[in-house]
Amino acid sequence: MENTKTELPKNWSLETLEDGRMVLNMGPSHPAMHGIVRVLLTVDGERVTDADVEIGYLHRGFEKTCENVTYNQCVPYTDRLNYVSPFINNVGFALAVEKLMGVQAPARAQYIRVIMSEISRMTDHLTCIGANAMELSAFTVYFYLINAREALYRLGDSAAGGRITPAYTRVGGLTRDLPPDFKRDAAEAFKLVRKNLADSGKLLTRNRIFYDRLHNTGHISKEDAVSLSFTGPALRSTGVPFDVRKATPYLVYDRFDFDIPVGSNGDNYDRYLVRMEELLQSMRIVEQALAQLPDGPINHPDFNVILPPKEEVYGNIEALMAHFKLTFEGVKPPKGEVYQAVEGGNGEVGFYIVSDGTGKPWRLRVRPPCFALTGGLPRMIKGGYIADIVATFGQINMIGGELER
């Protein structure tokens, strides 16, 4: 199905098993496999009877690299984990190191981190639904949602100076404060997002074709989802109301009023609905956070944690020394190990850091949510049609960067 050569080799044939089933290769160069995943299918007619998912095409050695650089130098690498929701990775990493050091960023920084995380969650969901709809031939929706995503990317860009690689957080704070017009820009962007989302919802939610492609496909039971370590929308679509933001609130999430949508069927359609609702909930959180946003510093006051401002560095010797030490040796958390989880677009993003007391992490492990999801893919596609794989694979929203790090 992926062979586009006009002339086939002479001995070419599809491998056929003794019982008449056929082995079929889907990916890694397949438009619906998002570039880098290969699924070896055993099919009986059009039904998938067995599947083996092969990954590893985008492994870049993130964890090994991070063991050899200082903590703050890891931040730009975290952008490249889930590159459609980079702020969440930045925030998760910063929180993990701060937990290790026993410090907390000031209130304003915490609010800004929530705002940026939620904007990232929205870009994540918009990409997922948009790409999913496009693969199921609803191309208009893709442009509506990607336009909305672009507005949010610009919003993130205006604050962090980068659309998809912002590297916005530092241990103990942020690289910079929000721009002065941020509230107004956010309101404008949300207006566009709400409009495009409503239009897309009308085009998709009760659309016969879209519904039939998603409803009852990629089904997974509650027990299987838990056993496979599913988190995020894929878990919530089965009816388990687990969300890290509610279960073990971090930052200031306990100060906002928002709902956790859950599904009941555990199929692709429920995952789609959960994501659509979460988009609205994220906007609710951002609006509340912007309304409550306190004034004050965005960085931890201690210069052993965060770089002093430039005026200080040029003006007094202590700040100059702190600058020098932090740049060359990095922040030095005490010996110990922590696990910090945050709710990413696809589920729980966990950072497990072991410190040996030096400026570099001894071990840095990322628990990528879509690793578990992709591991559970065979369970979700077995018994279905080949065409359903496209819908299911789209809805688990596999992101290569975080899957293989």
């Binding site: 590893g56 492994h59 090994k64 290790l100 496979l228 073990t248 696990y339 559970g376």
Partner: protein, 157 residues
């Protein structure tokens, strides 16, 4: 806080729990690797830890035992996280697989095998996951050089 769960684990396996500790609110139990599967099953069935959130390892070269297998469990019932670790020596880097208990352990264990070379007994399909067949060594081991290059593999059909 919810330390009674840790106490329950300790009283169930008095000889095998080597150490319990809490650092920054993360509670940890270190068990002997022989009882890892039993302890995990006890956590799952008796104490209500339904999620195996993460399974990974760390290399503490030159310390002996060299590796540490690290599992993070989460219980929706208690809304509680627990870290279970077990030391693994380099000469006998084998641990019982948790795949019979959690299907999700399958890929996590494959990654640990790939990156650290720890073998899991009873794993249904233990092979490399991120690196390719024919890759020599295990990249996340501390004695694997950061900039080591490996020859290109020949084209596979």
């Amino acid at each position: 806080m919810t330390t009674y769960l840790l106490e329950a684990l300790k009283s169930k396996f008095p000889a095998a729990v080597l150490e319990t500790s809490a650092f920054r609110g993360d509670e940890t139990a270190v068990v002997k690797k022989e009882v890892l599967k039993e302890a995990a099953a006890f956590l799952k069935d008796e104490l209500g830890f339904d999620f195996l959130m993460d399974l990974t390892a760390a290399d503490y070269l030159p310390r002996e035992p060299r590796f540490e297998l690290v599992c993070h469990f989460y219980s929706t019932k208690h809304n509680y996280r627990l870290r279970l670790k077990c030391p693994v020596g380099a000469d006998d880097a084998r641990v019982d697989s948790l795949t019979p208990l959690w299907a999700g352990a399958n890929w996590f264990e494959r990654e640990v095998y790939d990156m650290f070379g720890i073998k899991f007994e009873g794993h249904p399909d233990l092979r490399r996951i991120l690196m390719y067949d024919g890759f020599e060594g295990h990249p996340l081991r501390k004695d694997y050089p950061l900039k080591k290059r490996q020859p290109r593999i020949t084209h596979r059909d």
